[in-house]
């Protein structure tokens, strides 16, 4: 059963994409660790972390694509799942600091000592263990998505209404995490991390390993989503996107299909957030900003929603562009980003990958038509449908 699922998930594009990503997982750390700093092919550590960050963004975009591209649910709250995963990881990293914080408290993180707290809040228990934190990284966003989706999809909140309430959800979380008494470090968030799994988080080797982990996570998620969208389940998902009532009248419980995709997607976003936090060294409530969620949407749109490698390409391109742009003309980045939103929706609705695929499909059709014509000779008279 599982094998057939996996087998179906591999087509040529996915095989190539997975190979490229896994190749990067080997090559980039190797070039960073094994070459001398003055070697022409040397990848400096800051770039390893930067690329690692892009990979986590790519994973987030892929997660969004699963629900938006394949199921038509435009979530404007995916940054919330990302941030929740990030916070779960951040809590683990905070507990790893132990007595090395500024206040030297072996149990309480610095900000709690600062707020004069005497005990660790109950929801911080267990985060000193990596396996527990890793479980929470997927469970917390997954549970939130499940509960939120359960209510929303069951009462058939659709389209822009759903978008707006997902935005309200992340906005409410943003406000909540800004509060000091929530116990997540308030405004400043969680930072000053020291170790991850016993390795120094600043060390070159750890950075390279985090990059590799991000790449592997992305590759695995790609295989998973590919398997999902190529199964009958995925076809129904697309059916829901294109003709929801038809799917319903065929006897499918649309809300269950949406809920499953939404929850899996939120979990993937959580994993992305968890890999993001150790690489950038901080997680704060700003990650819940509704604007972040919408940025994820534009990465996906640029690359091509409804394709699997589109969002990955889009996330890397837009964020690469952002890094270059904000360094060169910081004033104009928002103009560029805003322009990108407008231009992509107007002129490139299928995104880069979608448009390329469209061209390829049309060329194939044209060739096929030409071949048919040749086979049938001059007698072929059937008009080709204009649609």
């Amino acid at each position: 059963m599982i094998t057939s699922f996996l087998l179906k998930s591999f087509d040529r594009t996915i095989v190539i994409a997975v190979a490229v990503i896994l190749g990067l997982a080997l090559i980039v750390p190797a070039l960073n660790l094994l070459t001398a700093p003055d070697h022409p092919l040397h990848v400096p550590t800051y770039l390893v972390s930067l690329f690692g960050k892009y990979l986590t963004y790519a994973l987030l975009a892929l997660a969004l694509d699963l629900v938006w591209g394949f199921c038509g649910i435009l979530s404007l709250g995916h940054a919330a799942f990302f941030a929740l995963g990030g916070y779960a990881m951040g809590m683990y990293l905070m507990r790893q600091i132990g007595a090395r914080g500024s206040y030297g408290n072996p149990l309480l993180p610095d900000f709690m000592v600062f707020l004069n707290w005497k005990e660790l809040p109950w929801f911080w228990y267990g985060f000193d263990m990596f396996w527990f934190a890793a479980l929470m990284v997927v469970l917390v966003p997954g549970m939130l998505a499940f509960v939120f989706g359960w209510f929303a999809f069951r009462s058939r909140v659709n389209g822009v209404y759903l978008s707006i309430i997902t935005q309200a959800m992340t906005f409410a979380l943003l406000l909540a995490f800004f509060r000091n008494d929530m116990g997540f470090g308030g405004n400043n968030g969680l930072t000053d991390f020291k170790d991850i799994l016993g390795f120094n988080i600043q060390a070159q080797g750890t950075r390279a390993a985090l990059f590799a982990a991000s790449a592997v996570a992305l590759a695995l998620s790609l295989i998973l989503t590919s398997g999902m969208v190529r199964s009958k389940y995925g076809k129904i998902l697309v059916g829901v996107r294109d003709a929801e009532s038809r799917t319903r009248f065929l006897g499918y419980r649309v809300e269950h299909f949406k809920l499953f995709a939404f929850t899996i997607s939120a979990m993937m976003a959580g994993v992305a957030g968890a890999l993001y936090v150790p690489q950038v060294g901080i997680i704060n409530p700003g990650e819940f900003d509704p604007a972040n969620s919408i940025e994820v949407v534009i990465w996906t749109a640029v690359g091509g929603r409804g394709t699997l490698i589109g969002p990955i390409i889009g996330a890397v391109l837009v964020n690469g562009g952002k890094s270059v742009f904000t360094a060169a003309f910081p004033e104009f980045w928002l103009f560029a980003l805003g322009g990108l939103f407008v231009l992509v929706t107007l002129f490139l609705p299928k995104g880069i990958v979608g448009t390329l695929q469209g061209w390829r499909a049309r060329r194939k059709e044209y060739r096929k038509a030409a071949a048919d014509e040749a086979a049938r000779g001059q007698t072929a008279a059937e008009p080709v449908a204009a649609e």
Partner: protein
């Protein structure tokens, strides 16, 4: 040393002598006494000064009022050279000396030559009470009122007789009420019989307010068992009334927040509610309206300062035109290509909002810009136990006026008829000869223009910065969705419901948690009624 002292005494004697032969011959004796007493204020410690103040107060002469006031304010100085006491005002590093009795300027001294007469809080209270007694008999009713209020705030048994005398002579109704309360307050701390005290408690209890509450609480601490029940009842009564007023104040704050939400959402009720366009740049239209106000005020400040009170009236039509034109450009340039694709419209308009924000940031800078309140929008007044600020009141009125105007436009004018026709059945409207693309463009421009005039109003109560719009966009969508899309009345009810709900949650949950709760409630509400409070029903909406 002794010589100098003798010389100075001689000098002061000479001065006194001169005064004696020149002016106020008849008052000389009294005035000389007063002057001596005032000069004595500079001697000794706080309690001695306090005794002097009381002695001065006993004279009952209104001439000493400026000196006592200056003492309380810390403006009374003693000249080190001759121990003379003067009122002062500072002037270019020096102090101008003012005679304490005549009020005339009598010279300047370097501040080093003078010693400030120090006051502490208990001395200040003594001074205030003394002043209260003095001014109670002033011919000016305003002065008497102030004096009575001062006494009410710091009651003392000593002042009781003074107050009673004043009360007997008082003719002004307002002053009389306050005096009665002051008398009651003084009576409470005196040793009069319990019967009188009970009446006094009733008077204070009836007056209500925070001051009365603290008076009664103070009295409760020292009261005997016969009075305690009365005081407790009066306190409970005041607290009940205060709770009621607090609820009233919350309603008022809620209405005020509701009117802000209504203003922000009402343009959206057109573009989103009527046309179904998700305009994420709506907040930026509000922001542009606010910046238009800023520009208008800048021009007025530099060129026509006299027109400042008219600045909002000038800004209103301009903001409507500016944002309406921007809206028109957005509709014609971008949105019209995206009809029927709401999610794409959402993304494109979000892009526009980013561009507009950055454009304003580039032109006007990232910091808050100052937008002033015209005089008729500043200040506040009291209504019973409510404090009502003029700007909030005007914004409520304005929001309702805009709502009414819009309702009229949509229901009673040909333009509104065409708008409704196009939104209900585009094909039919088009075949009836309505130019649907222009109706779309104008409707969108109208919604944007209304957002602009909302910006004019909101510039009065919010920081005018490039991020102004961001703060409103989620709230506006919540209001429209909560109220029911496509229903203006729903938007009205939605805005005020959310505003009041928010303000009632705030005292229990705090501002941030209150807002979070409201958001969660709306999210839950939308699950229950996906189409809002006043939903359209039937087959048409499914299509």
């Amino acid at each position: 040393m002794l010589m100098r002292l003798a010389y100075r005494s001689l000098q002061s004697l000479l001065v006194t002598f001169c005064l004696f032969i020149t002016v106020f011959a008849t008052d000389l004796r009294a005035e000389d006494d007063l002057r001596a007493m005032i000069n004595a204020l500079g001697e000794g410690n706080f309690s001695q000064t306090a005794k002097q103040v009381e002695a001065l107060a006993k004279t009952g002469d209104p001439k000493i009022v400026p000196a006592l006031e200056a003492l309380a304010a810390g403006d009374l100085y003693q000249r080190k050279s001759d121990k003379q006491v003067f009122l002062t005002k500072s002037s270019a590093g020096n102090l101008v000396l003012i005679d304490p009795l005549s009020g005339e300027e009598v010279g300047t001294e370097a501040s080093g030559a003078l010693a400030k007469i120090k006051v502490n809080n208990s001395l200040r209270r003594t001074v205030r009470a003394a002043l209260g007694g003095l001014t109670l008999m002033s011919p000016d009713a305003g002065v008497r009122l102030q004096a009575a209020q001062t006494l009410l705030r710091a009651p003392s048994a000593d002042a009781l007789e003074q107050v009673e005398t004043a009360l007997a002579a008082e003719t002004d109704g307002r002053v009389k009420t306050v005096l009665e309360r002051a008398r009651a307050a003084a009576l409470l701390v005196s040793d009069r019989p319990d019967g009188e005290k009970k009446a006094a408690i009733a008077i204070i209890g009836k007056a209500g307010g925070q001051d009365s509450l603290s008076l009664l609480s103070a009295a409760l601490a020292s009261a005997d068992d016969t009075l305690k029940p009365d005081i407790e009842a009066a306190i409970a009564d005041i607290q009940d009334r205060q709770a009621l007023w607090a609820a009233g104040q919350n309603v008022w704050y809620g209405l005020s927040l509701g009117s802000v939400l209504l203003l922000a959402a009402i343009g959206l009720a057109i573009t989103f509610g009527v046309m179904g366009i998700i305009n994420m740049a709506h907040g930026e239209m509000v922001m542009l309206g606010a910046y238009t106000t800023f520009v208008v005020q800048e021009v007025i400040r530099t060129s026509f300062p006299g027109l400042f009170d008219w600045s909002l009236a000038i800004a209103l039509p301009l903001a409507f035109l500016v944002t309406g034109a921007v809206g028109l450009a957005i509709e014609r340039g971008i949105i019209r290509f995206l009809y029927g694709r709401p999610l794409e419209t959402l993304l494109a308009t979000w892009g526009i909002s980013l561009i507009l924000q950055q454009a304003v940031r580039t032109i006007f800078g990232p910091t808050n810009r100052e937008v002033g309140n015209p005089s008729w929008m500043s200040g506040a007044f009291e209504l019973g136990g409510l404090t009502i600020t003029w700007n909030r009141l005007w914004i409520i009125v304005f929001a309702l006026a805009v709502f009414a105007a819009l309702l009229f436009l949509l229901k009673k004018t040909p333009m509104g008829l065409q708008m409704r026709a196009v939104t209900q059945n585009r094909r039919m409207a088009s075949s009836m000869g309505i130019r649907t693309p222009w109706v779309d463009a104008l409707t969108f421009a109208l919604g944007s223009g209304i957002a602009g005039i909302a910006g004019v109003a909101l510039s009065q109560i919010d920081n005018v910065s490039p991020n102004l719009g961001q703060g409103y966009i989620i709230d506006s969508f919540m209001v429209v969705v909560f109220g029911g899309v496509g229903n203006l009345w729903g938007t009205l009810v939605g805005a005020f419901t959310l505003g009041i709900l928010n303000k009632f949650l705030e005292p229990y949950a705090g501002a941030v948690l209150g807002k979070i709760l409201v958001l969660v409630l709306i999210i839950l509400f939308i699950q229950k009624r996906p189409r809002g409070l006043f939903a359209l029903k039937g087959r048409a909406v499914e299509a």
